[in-house]
């Protein structure tokens, strides 16, 4: 009688392993193996032995460091702006119903279906030099504004708009765990909007915010299209920098080194994401 459940558990474990086997194998083949290859390829040179010269070069080259620094702060600022922009919309959608809420949701999720190239084109047409904004300002005899096109603000604006839907969906899933009754209970005891947000809602969606930030950082750190089309040529973000080092400079070793460094930063944020997920699950128990 005891062996039967044991065999069922064993069978369940095996079928579970089989279910995850394919994605795990793909992960090993398409992600971890190339990473390992790149890592080893930048440190070990057949016939010459080990050398960390490409890493020493990256961390001693002022231009590379400026690129890394630009990437870091564009990533940080864009991630924070995405969460800050998505939060009021998420709160509105969580606690309001009706046709206006449905319209707001449709508009907020719209960027999800727009390719990056079109976002960049629209940005240039609207905010670029002699774009719609400039045309309107000139029409009312006002001076043109400095365009964010090819400035660090350019990719930030584009990336915030592009990533808003995913951030919104992640925050909405977190807010789904905050019951209307728990908010009403706080109101009933005299709490105002700010107190309810900081004392009741925010602690309950902490893990969702961390997940949203981690997801954003992972995507933004290696973003290419919008930084390439809207960002400055110098310094440049890691995505365009890697591409230019590889293609224009024909320097695969330094491009791979940049990729490994980018991966290391992303892996660190990935770890934060995994920890947040684990904490969130623990909190749900």
């Amino acid at each position: 009688m005891i062996s039967a459940p044991r065999s069922r558990v064993g069978g369940g474990g095996l079928s579970g392993l089989l279910l995850v086997a394919l994605p795990v194998l793909l992960l090993l083949w398409l992600v971890l193996w190339p990473v390992l290859q790149a890592f080893v390829g930048t440190l070990y040179f057949p016939g010459k032995g080990f050398s960390a010269a490409s890493y020493v070069y990256f961390f001693s080259d002022a231009y590379s460091l400026r690129n890394l620094w630009l990437t870091l702060w564009v990533t940080a600022l864009t991630s924070i702006l995405r969460v800050a922009a998505a939060m009021p919309i998420a709160l509105y959608l969580r606690f309001r119903t009706g046709s206006i809420a449905a319209l707001v949701q449709s508009l907020a999720l719209f960027p999800l279906f727009v390719p990056s190239v079109l976002v960049a084109y629209a940005f240039i047409r609207v905010l670029g030099p002699n774009g719609i904004v400039d045309t309107l300002l000139v029409a009312v005899h006002l001076p043109k504004l400095p365009s964010p096109y090819l400035q660090p603000a350019g990719p930030i604006i584009g990336l915030v708009w592009e990533g808003l839907p995913l951030t919104l969906l992640l925050l909405l899933s977190g807010l789904g765990r905050v019951s209307t009754a728990s908010v009403e209970a706080a109101r009933d005891l005299g709490a105002g909007g700010v107190t309810i947000f900081t004392r009741i809602i925010l602690p309950r969606i902490q893990s969702s915010i961390i997940v949203a930030l981690a997801f954003n950082v992972l995507g933004l750190f290696s973003a290419f299209t919008l930084p390439y089309l809207l960002g400055p040529a110098s310094p440049e973000m890691m995505g365009p920098y890697m591409q230019r080092t590889f293609s224009d400079n024909a320097d695969p070793l330094n491009a791979t080194t940049q990729a490994v460094i980018t991966f290391a930063f992303c892996a660190a944020f990935g770890l934060i994401y995994v920890r947040a997920i684990a904490k969130g699950r623990k909190g749900l128990r």
């Binding site: 728990s182 009403e184 209970a185 009933d188 005891l189 107190t195 309950r204």
Partner: protein, 357 residues
């Protein structure tokens, strides 16, 4: 302690009327139950009193002060929610102290008042625990303590025990009644459980389809229902479709003396039927017998197959298919547009004027 006065309260959601012109006064220190089936408007009425919904029409006054347009945080009310609505990231102490901290009370006073209310709800020493470390009943006590600690004038309870098992529900409702009476606080309690309403209320407001069907003391509502809905909703009731003619009502072959003419509803409580020798128009065929220990319920069928429940002595034993005679001790006849008429025993002693003590 306070009085609540509802005047012409109505609420519509789009084209749907949730509440229709209600007038009700809840006296100081009274516990009033809002009782009705799902969709009757009882929770909407409670939420209007609490300020979570704005009435489409009418006014609410607490102690003579119009609070109709005030939000929940500015009303002297506190609500206990069905889902407990405890904040899982705060300890029991944190949950209860939340309202006091918002009032910027000194720390020592907050601690003293929280400990006092924890003692009141029987949770002394539980302050450091998280809600997830408590049972369902303990969580509901914390929710009650959180509402009581801010000393509201009116305590609102929205089906607070709906998620608890029967035994715990019975115990907690007694405790809530006891606390309410000790504090002398005015309370409005929403429930769809008639037992709960009958057990703890000073008065019951029976609601159906957004309308008040009857307001009265529990015994009065049970014994003298004003509408066929109330008669069928409160307690067990045999409700038979019948016809009034020639000084009697005929329903499913059962004939009982009654005044009037035309279609009518005959309402008989199972405990108002006694067993007797089988006779013409007084015979029931036993379908099954249910032994509740303290009493026996016989599920029988009348001549046309209509079910009739009879509650009788625990010593009675009958079998399926047995023919048993019945004698009806009291019954009520409901006719469209008229006041209900009540009768006692086969001797037709109308007691319409009598009032239940």
């Amino acid at each position: 302690m306070a009085q609540v006065q509802l005047s012409g309260i109505a609420k519509t959601f789009g084209k749907v009327t949730a509440l229709d012109a209600m007038d009700l006064t809840i006296d100081d220190g009274e516990l009033v139950c809002l009782l009705g089936p799902s969709g009757s408007g009882k929770s909407t009425l409670l939420r209007i009193i609490g300020g979570f919904e704005m009435p489409s029409e009418g006014t609410i006054a607490i102690d003579g002060v119009d609070v109709t347009d005030l939000p929940p945080e500015r009303r002297p009310t506190a609500m206990v929610f069905q889902s407990h609505a405890l904040w899982s990231h705060m300890t029991v102490f944190g949950n209860i102290a939340f309202g006091l901290k918002l009032r910027h009370l000194p720390k020592a006073e907050i601690r003293e008042r929280v400990e006092k209310v924890l003692d009141l709800v029987g949770l002394t020493g539980y302050g450091a625990r998280l809600p997830s470390q408590l049972s369902g009943g303990q969580q509901q006590r914390v929710a009650l303590a959180r509402s009581l600690v801010v000393e509201p004038k009116i305590l609102l309870l929205d089906e607070p025990f709906a998620s608890l098992d029967q035994h715990l529900r019975e115990r907690l409702r007694e405790e809530v009644r006891d606390i309410q009476q000790r504090l002398g606080i005015t309370a409005v309690f929403v429930t769809h459980g008639q037992d709960e309403a009958l057990a703890i209320s000073d008065r019951i407001v029976v609601l159906a389809d957004g309308r008040m069907q009857q307001v009265g003391r529990p015994g009065e509502i049970y014994a003298e229902p004003k509408t066929a809905f109330v008669a069928g909703f409160i307690g067990a009731m045999n409700m038979l479709e019948g016809t009034l003619a020639d000084g009697e009502i005929t329903a499913s072959g059962l004939k009982l003396p009654a005044e009037g003419s035309g279609p009518a509803k005959l309402a008989i409580r199972p405990e108002d039927i006694e067993l007797a020798e089988p006779a013409e128009g007084r015979t029931v065929t036993v379908r099954r017998m249910i032994d509740f220990g303290a009493h026996v319920v016989i599920d029988g069928k009348l001549a046309d197959g209509t079910h009739l429940r009879i509650q009788t002595d625990k010593a009675i034993r009958v079998s399926q298919g047995d023919q048993i005679g019945i004698r009806v001790e009291s019954w009520t006849v409901f006719t469209e547009g008229d006041e209900p008429r009540r009768y006692r025993s086969d001797t037709v002693r109308s007691f319409r004027g009598a009032r239940y003590a």
